[in-house]
Amino acid sequence: MGTSTTPPAGGDEAQLTALGTHDVRPEFDVSHEERDGRLVVHVVGELDYHTAPRLQTYLSSRLDRPVVLDLEGVEFCDSSGLGCLVEAYKRAGAAGGRFSVAAPHPFVRRVLELTQLDQIVPMFATVPDALRGS
């Protein structure tokens, strides 16, 4: 027994409509490790309106110590993701910790620069750079 989708494939609209029936849960995972007395939080997936609250919750109880957020696995970040980074930075400051981001993809870095958040949240090219600088 097969499954067909209406309307039939035909232009971009039909293509998108068909794609829209797929499971579209954003790829997202977050984990952490202790390194040199600091917490390195690894994020993998898309940081967006759907997933940013999960990262914010994950970080919220861990910002009383130096935290480096490893963005190497983040291929997409929207304004909700940016907001999560700013919030973590502010909460870390209030809790006596420090917060920085490391290894952003070129497009994520560009969005951080466009919004001038690179002047607020410390940003490093690599996690080791962040560990040395944090």
Binding site: M1, G2, T3, S4, T5, T6, P7, D12, E13, Q15, L16, T17, A18, L19, G20, T21, V24, R25, P26, E46, D48, Y49, H50, E75, F76, D78, S79, S80, L82, G83, C84, V86, E87, Y89, K90, H105, P106, F107, V111, L114, T115, Q116, Q119, I120
Partner: protein, 135 residues
């Protein structure tokens, strides 16, 4: 054979942001250049997130190739126009419309009989077609 009826409208829930964004990035109109695809995903996802944030159901966006770029239109039935709000430098919110306006070569809001459409065009310029940018 099972036929799946597909709505042209997305539900007003967070998952609709990726429902709208991911197919747009995979579409022919995205033209495959990584930075252009990322930009297109961003200028699509932001207005969809804004609609969902205001409990509106956006119409499934469809990108269209236009001379020199790609046009995305996100329509919903909320008559309120999105406005650029000045984000506090260290504030967590109000950057979505700014991001769309900054990335887009042209951008605007068009009233419809039932709501509004946000239109944004992403130019195919060297910065947005940097095929080797992502490693």
């Amino acid at each position: 054979m099972t036929t799946v009826a597909v709505s042209r409208w997305l539900p007003a829930e967070p998952a609709s942001v990726v429902r709208a964004r991911r197919p747009v990035g995979a579409s022919r109109a995205a033209r495959g250049a990584p930075a252009h695809v990322d930009g297109l995903a961003l200028i699509t996802g932001e207005p969809v997130a804004d609609a969902v944030r205001h409990a509106a159901s956006p119409r499934r966006p469809v990108p269209r190739q236009v001379p020199g770029g790609t046009l995305v239109e996100v329509c919903d039935e909320d008559p309120r126009h999105p406005v650029v709000q000045v984000a506090e430098p260290s504030g967590p919110r109000h950057r979505g419309v700014f991001v769309v306006e900054t990335l887009s070569s042209t951008q605007g809001v068009v009233p419809t009989t039932t709501g509004t459409c946000v239109r944004a065009e992403l130019a195919l310029d060297p910065r947005n077609t940097g095929g080797t940018e992502r490693t």
